[in-house]
Symmetry: C2
Subunit: 353 residues, 2 copies
């Protein structure tokens, strides 16, 4: 679940009983946060766990800190350069568990299949789930399959849940960012979202851009083993992109964040696709990088550690946490100016994951 | 996941690459078992956990036996007499965890919502999730919300995952049924499936039949505390009904099962609806009863224990496990004959849960 921003300006319109759910409510941006804050969390009532909303939850059992995370995947198209819905579901869930500083131990997979879906495609997606899970070293322990009539779903939806165990020394939360902390980014951004969109729209970038979908739990384990207590926040900037993730951290911790545009690596074909599509790369979904907010004394060592791994070899120092403008993210632009980096509003890229 | 029956006769047709997924593949019956056996499990390959497929899996962490289960809910209509998709999702998952002899500790909830779905309905379903989880004493710890375009889903699908902890003394599996064991059934059957179908078809039974959806973890805890090691199998006969559950047990344990028609309680309005709809109550989905296969010496005590609980007050001795006809379920009919009770074939009741 994603936190809403109590410090943000503007005039949030309450979701009246007569309203309809919009595509933007699934964006991972501001509308998603409002749906959670105004509808889901109040309706859950006493059953909702009272913690800062994260992409995963910690459940303490007998002194063991278990981590559990669940995600529904509805990406369209199901197959895209660099992966498919099965790979994406495994990586997305492994990563959500890892972002709590945890080792993933087991996965579950639930399918909702539209009647008439080709068995060959189901086999292909399932083989991807199997291969991605095996490569990540996480078994698929149970699952479920439902079939709905033609037109009642769009091919295949996949919901994965991950169970993990928090690593010793790891204690991270979006709320733990503090002024003076350094913001690190593990790699280039924008590849996943632009891949999906250019494939869907047949824009011709397919040869140049592939999704960055990859598991990040080994990178996380390396970071935690090296400097666990110095890591205050870890998040993978998926739906809503780096901008939404940084805004969520700023809101949860009631701090400001300043980032340098020069530190944001956008691969040239991704940048070209973004320009053509009118997208801000900071709002585009990623599936293979993470943002870490770390104590300043450990930042250089952590950056070096990240760069020593295949997943983090392009890691960069993105910016820092400040006391000023709590709840806001500000970017120092290449032109020497400053601009506010907003959370994604509305639905820029529907069904991106 | 559901086990296939290697001992069953007939001629299973392999699912060729050119084939399409049918509604019947989601029935919980024989086609579901074939889809798992022929497509899902082979495609998962090394990532699939190698155990007898159950509705939940045991994951051992540091000497702790955790149980995890996941289910996608696609019931139509979303609201029905006795419950809605939210209640059903919570109870279904609590029960799948409980059927491993476990106490449920936490739930996750993932929504796939169709664009245009009324916010009021989302609030209502979520309030049901919250109320059912609170009544069961299990917190909702995390979740996910995705939105797809109009026509890409039918209103709302809910996928829930339950995390539990196996109770001391509990060690159950469909494979553990052995000749001489007694088969117990906790209550009357057929209410859930006939409620959904008569609501959907507006058959006019709505005033008389309500879904039996209820959590069974307290009944299970009572049974395990009373005679844990004597309980060999526990299953809730949901999709595919009591017939499919008994066939799964017979197949997994390579035993025969004999049941008495006289011991099967079908409430009169349920029986009337089944007759009108041409349904065998043994194939109709239940959401509030369980089948237990127990050691004969403990059967009377367990039956008394079950009857001492609100959920099990109509518990009955359904039959017994035999060496003969392994993989087959045979019923002694009220007329004094014998008939084979088959697994549900095809899709009798689409989108029942």
């Amino acid at each position: 679940m994603t936190g809403a921003d109590p410090t943000r300006g503007g005039c949030p319109v309450p979701l009246a009983e007569t309203e309809k759910v919009l595509l933007g409510h699934g964006s991972g941006g501001q509308l998603s946060a409002e749906l959670l804050r105004d509808v889901v969390v109040p309706a859950l009532g006493a059953a909702a766990a009272e913690t800062v909303p994260e992409d995963a939850a910690v459940v303490a059992v007998d002194g063991l800190d278990l981590v559990i995370s669940t995600d529904a995947f509805v990406v369209s198209p199901l197959f895209f350069p660099g992966g498919d819905i099965g790979v994406l579901a495994v990586h997305g869930t492994v990563n959500d568990v890892a972002m709590m500083g945890a080792v993933p131990l087991a996965l579950t997979v639930a399918y909702v299949i539209e009647e008439g879906f080709p068995v060959a495609d189901l086999r292909r997606v399932t083989a991807s789930v199997g291969a991605a899970a095996a490569a990540a070293g996480v078994p698929v322990v149970t699952g479920d399959t439902k079939v709905v009539g033609r037109g009642a779903a769009d091919g295949l939806f996949v919901t994965t849940t991950g169970l993990g165990r928090r690593l010793p020394g790891a204690r991270v939360s979006a709320a733990f960012a503090r002024p003076g902390d350094v913001v690190l980014l593990s790699g280039p951004i924008g590849a996943h979202g632009t891949t999906i969109l250019s494939t869907r729209e047949a824009l011709g970038f397919e040869a140049e851009i592939v999704s960055d979908t990859r598991p990040l739990h080994r990178l996380v384990a390396t970071m935690v083993a090296g400097a666990g207590p110095a890591i205050h926040v870890m998040r993978d900037p998926t739906r809503g992109g780096v901008a939404s993730t940084l805004n969520e951290i700023a809101a949860a911790a009631r701090v400001g964040i300043e980032i340098d545009e020069a530190a944001v690596t956008v691969p040239a074909p991704v940048a070209a696709a973004c320009e053509l599509l009118g997208l801000d790369p900071l709002h585009v979904a990623n599936e293979g990088c993470l943002v870490a907010v770390v104590a300043p004394a450990a930042a250089d060592a952590l950056l070096a550690l990240m760069r020593s791994t295949p997943e983090g070899r392009w890691a960069a120092r993105l910016g820092s946490v400040v006391e000023e403008h709590p709840g806001r993210v500000v970017m120092h632009t290449l032109m020497g100016g400053r601009r506010v980096v907003d959370m994604l509003v509305g639905e820029q890229l529907p069904r991106i994951c």
